[in-house]
C-alpha cells in the first residue's frame, strides 16, 4: 500500500540550519548535511532544504550545502528558496537535488513550471504555495516572498493551474498555522487535495502525532511536512511513525 510520507524540512540561512533540531551524537547541530542524514536515519521519508537566505551571494553556499547533503542521502531531496530561472533549477539539480521547489517565481511567471518540467520531468517540480485564510475563512489567498505580499490569486485555483502547467506535487503551507503547533489546516489541505490529481504535501502547524493523523484522515493529505516539531514532545520521527502506525495510518516503518 502507498504510505503517507513524513517530510522533514530544514530551513537554511547562509549554509546553516536555523530552527535547529536537537539530535544526539551530532557533532554540529547546525550543519544541514549532518541533520539531513540524521533525519533520514531516524525515518524521514524525504528531506526538504529550504534556503531562506536573503543575500544573493549565499547561492554558492547553498549549492555547496546541497552537494554535501546529497552525497550521503539516499531518500528524495527537495531544494527550494530563491529558484527564479531554469538555470537556477539546473544548478540545484546538478548539485544533487531530486526535486526543486518554486514559489514566488512561479507566481510571477507560471510558464517557469513548464520550462523546468519539460527539461527535468514533472516529478522534479514541486510548486510551493503559502496560503492564508481570507473573507472570514471562506477561501484562501496565495502569498509570495515568504508571506509578505499577497499574490492576488486564490490558492486553490493556483494549485489547479500549477498542476495543469506541469507541477508534480503541491507543497501547501498554511500561514495561519505555521509556527503555532496547533495542527495543520485540514480544511485548506482537503480543498486542495480534492481539487488536483497530483499529491499534496500539508505544511504548517504540526505539533503532535494527532495532528498528522487528522491531516491524513480529514485533510486527505498525501504527505505532511514539519520543521520544528521535534523540539516539542516527539523525540524522533521513529516515535511519530510508530504512533501513526498504531492509529491505522499506513507509514514506512520500520525502514
Amino acid at each position: 500500500m502507498l504510505t503517507k510520507r513524513i517530510i522533514a524540512c530544514l530551513d537554511v540561512d547562509g549554509g546553516r540550519v536555523v530552527k535547529g533540531v536537537q539530535f544526539e551524537n551530532l557533532r554540529d547541530a547546525g550543519d544541514p548535511a549532518e541533520l539531513a542524514k540524521a533525519h533520514s536515519a531516524s525515518g524521514a521519508d524525504e528531506i526538504v532544504l529550504l534556503d531562506i537566505s536573503a543575500a544573493h551571494q549565499h547561492r554558492t553556499t547553498l549549492l555547496d550545502t546541497v552537494r554535501r547533503a546529497a552525497g550521503q542521502l539516499f531518500v528524495p531531496l527537495t531544494v527550494g528558496g530563491g529558484i527564479r530561472t531554469l538555470e537556477d533549477a539546473a544548478a540545484v539539480f546538478a548539485a544533487g537535488a531530486d526535486k526543486i521547489g518554486v514559489n514566488s517565481a512561479a507566481l510571477a511567471d507560471p510558464a517557469l513550471i513548464t520550462r523546468i518540467a519539460e527539461r527535468f520531468g514533472s516529478q522534479a517540480v514541486v510548486v510551493a504555495i503559502d496560503a492564508k485564510r481570507c473573507e472570514g475563512g471562506l477561501r484562501w489567498e496565495a502569498f509570495t516572498h515568504g508571506g509578505r505580499a499577497a499574490a492576488g490569486r486564490d490558492a486553490i485555483a493556483w494549485a489547479r493551474e500549477a498542476e495543469s502547467r506541469g507541477a508534480g506535487e503541491i507543497l501547501l503551507t498554511s500561514m495561519d498555522r505555521d509556527g503555532t503547533a496547533s495542527g495543520f489546516d485540514c480544511k485548506l489541505t482537503r480543498a486542495a487535495a480534492d481539487s488536483v490529481r497530483i499529491p499534496v504535501i500539508a505544511s504548517g502547524g504540526a505539533g503532535g502525532a494527532q495532528h498528522f493523523v487528522e491531516v491524513f484522515r480529514e485533510g486527505h493529505a498525501d504527505a505532511a511536512l514539519a520543521a520544528s516539531i521535534f523540539h516539542y514532545g516527539l523525540s524522533s520521527l521513529g516515535d511519530l511513525k510508530r504512533q501513526l502506525g498504531s492509529q491505522g495510518i499506513s507509514v514506512r516503518w520500520p525502514c
Binding site: M1, R5, F74, P76, G96, Q123
Partner: protein, 196 residues
Amino acid sequence: MIAIVDYGAGNLVSVKKAVDWLGQECTITSDPAQVEKATRIILPGVGHFASTAALGRTGLQDAISDAIRRDVPFLGICVGMQWMFERSQESLETAGLGLLAGECERFPENVKSPHVGWNDLEIAPSSPLFRGVSSKSFVYFTHSFRVPLTETTVARCEYGGEFSAAVERDRSFGVQFHPEKSGEIGLKLLNNFCSL
C-alpha cells in the same frame, strides 16, 4: 566500469551518487563506444517515454542491445525499465527496445497520478537482484505509467491494482522504483546488481 547511460532526459546525478557510494567505478556517458565497453549498464530515466527516442537516434540502442546479447548485466530504472518493453501508452509512436513483451499503461482514474512515494513490494524469492531483500520492503516510486504483471515480473506492487515493480530476464533487469532514492533497501539492490 559501469556505464550510466545519458540520453538527455532528466537528472542522472542521484544514480551516480549511489553507485559511487557503493565504491563501484562508474561514468555517465552518451557515447555508444563507451557503452559497448562497459561491464554493466544502467539506464536511468525520468520524464517522458518519448525522450527514449534519442536512444535510437544516437546509436545507444544498438550498443545496449549488443551488450545484452553478450550477457552484460543491464538495469533499467523507471522509464528505463518501461523502455525494455514494446511500447507505452504515453507515446505510442515511440518504439521501445522490445526485449520484453508488453505495453506500459496509465493508472486507472480512481487513484491519484503520478504514483509518488514509498510503497511495499511482493518479491519472488529466486531473484538475484533482490537477494537479502524481503517482501514488504518499502521503495520509492514516482511515475505516471506502469508495466502490467507479465511472466518476467519478479516484484509486484499494489496501487490501483497490481503492476510490475521489477522484471527480470537472464541478466537484464528493470525496476519501476528508484533504488538510488530507496534508502538502505535500494542500496542493497544496486549492490546486488553490481555484484552479479
